[in-house]
């Protein structure tokens, strides 16, 4: 237990260093462009309702921004958990975007365009999206287990396949001629209570956020306290050893990808039937890729992921406000995100570096102690 806690704090240190390095690199870029990085980062916080803006439109307040930020955060929580479950099983799920699309598209067409009442529609959206994502995830896992197809390659192929097929159906059947997106879903089926009026102010209340918090603890429970979680982690650490220990490796691979896909499907539901109410053709949601960054920074532990996404989503969500205030392209937010990804990919190296320094320090102090001892 103590060892694990040590690992936790150590990882926390590394994550903070990685994030700071990324932010620093972003700041340097802004300086080159002649902008004030502190102001830009402050604008990010303002855009998410952590800091007050100088003025608000009618019916809006700092809490409106905060509620909208939480609405925006929810899909990322699911998506990052999805990366984590696969990663624990030794698999790299880069197909989250595609799984999000499939889950959300099925839920949109089956429930979103129906006239079901909210009590039925909302749970159905969640179930259908989860199943849709799970199916794709399981397929990727099965292809890996049965045919030895690299999951990265197959999930990318499925990403594009899903993207084009869904684009085809949106454009031929469900397109809204004005917005060029899919038609908006019914209010009853939307997982976010959009712009509801409470005490004179409007809020976006994400129902799925509660589910996301529950998912964090459920995933944690599965990974830490169940046989399945133990098996998945064993396979992730050493397939051959797990096989010798009598664990059904192939079943584990398929299952962990299925769970990962299920979470991705939920991410899709809370994104396309929550934060948004329609789907955009010809676009893979960037959430699926950014989730990898969030998961890496969070040390792929469910609790770590919660804090990592809380922090990193500020950059993504606040970028619109920042770009309007600071006159910077909103894309700089994704550049900063990419830089943080880059530095956190080196976390093993940072860890090694820290340990080396610690060793040198302790050696030095030992030597100086010896010297003092000799003097006496």
């Amino acid at each position: 237990m103590t060892k694990k806690e040590n690992g936790g704090t150590e990882h926390f240190k590394v994550a903070v260093i990685a994030v700071l390095l990324g932010l620093l690199a972003g700041a340097v870029m802004m300086l080159i462009l002649g902008k004030n990085p502190f102001m830009a980062y402050y604008n990010l916080l303002q855009g998410c309702g952590f800091m007050p803006k100088s003025k608000y439109a009618g019916g809006k307040s700092i809490l409106t921004d905060l509620s909208s930020y939480i609405d925006f955060l929810t899909p990322m929580l699911f998506a990052a958990l999805s990366v984590a479950v696969a990663l624990k099983g030794g698999l790299f799920n880069i197909g989250i975007s595609g799984q999000m699309l499939v889950g959300a598209f099925l839920a949109t067409t089956i429930v979103g365009y129906s006239s079901l009442p909210a009590v039925l529609a909302k749970p159905l959206v969640i179930i259908i999206a989860a199943l849709g994502g799970m199916l794709i995830g399981a397929l990727i896992g099965f292809l890996k287990a049965r045919f030895n197809i690299n999951e990265v390659v197959s999930s990318i192929m499925l990403n594009y396949t899903a993207e084009y097929i869904i684009t085809f159906f949106i454009n031929t059947k469900y397109v809204d001629p004005i917005s060029r997106q899919s038609k908006e879903i019914s209010k009853a089926s939307r997982l976010t209570l959009h712009q509801i009026l409470i005490g004179g102010y409007r809020y976006d209340l994400a129902i799925s956020f509660i589910l996301a918090i529950a998912a964090i603890f459920i995933v944690r429970f599965i990974l830490e306290r169940t046989v399945l979680g133990y098996d998945i982690k064993a396979v992730g650490q050493n397939k051959e050893a797990a096989r010798y220990a009598g664990i059904k490796v192939n079943r584990c691979i398929t299952l962990s990808m299925a769970i990962s896909g299920l979470l991705a499907g939920l991410a899709g539901a809370s994104y396309y039937l929550g934060y948004f109410a329609s789907m955009q053709p010809k676009t893979l949601p960037s959430t699926g890729f950014d989730a990898i960054a969030v998961c890496l920074v969070g040390g792929s532990s469910p609790i770590g992921i919660f804090f990592a996404s809380l922090f990193l989503e500020i950059i993504a969500k606040g970028s619109t406000y920042m770009s309007s205030q600071a006159g910077l392209e909103a894309e700089i937010a994704s550049v900063i995100m990419g830089l943080i990804l880059l530095t956190s990919a080196c976390s093993a190296f940072i860890l090694e570096f820290l340990n080396k320094r610690k060793k040198i320090k302790s050696e030095k102090s030992q030597k100086s102690e010896e010297r003092q001892g000799g003097g006496n």
Binding site: F147, V152, V153, I156, I292, E331, V335, L342, F349
Partner: protein, 322 residues
Amino acid sequence: MNTINTIIINGMSFTLPLFIMAIGGIYSERSGVTNLALEGLQGVGAFFGALAAYIATLQLGSKSVAPYYLAMIFAMIGGMLYSLVHALLCIRFKADMVISGVVINILAMSLTAFLTKSINRTVFGAASDKIILGVSTRFTVPGISDIPVIGAFFTNVYPFEIIIIVVAVITWYLLYKTSFGLHLRAAGDNPAAVDAAGIDVSKIRYLAVMMSGALSGLAGICFAYSISAKFSSDIYVGYGYLSIAALIFGGWRIMPTLLACFIFGFARSAGYQLVQKLELPSAYSDLVMILPYVLTLLLLIFLAKNNQAPRALGEAYDKSKR
């Protein structure tokens, strides 16, 4: 008849860039460095190439052919420089190679989008998220092009196709017929033995990854000059991943990989022709777009099992473990 010609002409112009990028991937992976970064490398290469061409066109006028070739050179340089990040991460910083590749791709997308917008706004004073290139000129070899079917291979050829074929032959020779190629292939199978022979494994791997960067950059600018006629985020539609699928399908060997690229290229152009022949609405071309991806999956189902990846692929070489 005409349809077959079109399929061949369009198929070749897609196959060859895919192939040269796959060769880059083979270099990197045969040296032991997993390279999912091809997608990002070709995008960054295309960005540098397009920028060079755009600036050169402003200087030299639109009639000059120099921008076209300058674009090729700068695309290779750009791809090579950017690939150094992947090399550093994988070799020096011992990052997970798969994760590093994906990270490189994500960063490439956001970085080029950001730079394109910033440069357009600050330097050229226009709010735009693309760099217009125009479609490359084509040429037809007189005489041979009149032969049925075979002639199509000599009709409406992009100049870059010739460049690619020349580069492909050189890289094939380098990989299979020189001692450098031997060392490179050995570094991916048994790096300890290479090290014992007194050859620097890291150096070989750096060179291999840089090679993949240069070749991917070349492929990227070719796609930009043919399919999209511009540089924009349209370049990131998975060409890099397709070429990775091709090289896995080809068992990390150059000639079988060429075959895989042919299948992808011709499936794609045949699909497009089918949509046109049947006079289907343009939305159907989205359905055709899935052909190469689905085909890849199906082919991998039959082939992945027997495939022999380089033995030390994806492992950072650690001298102390020898």
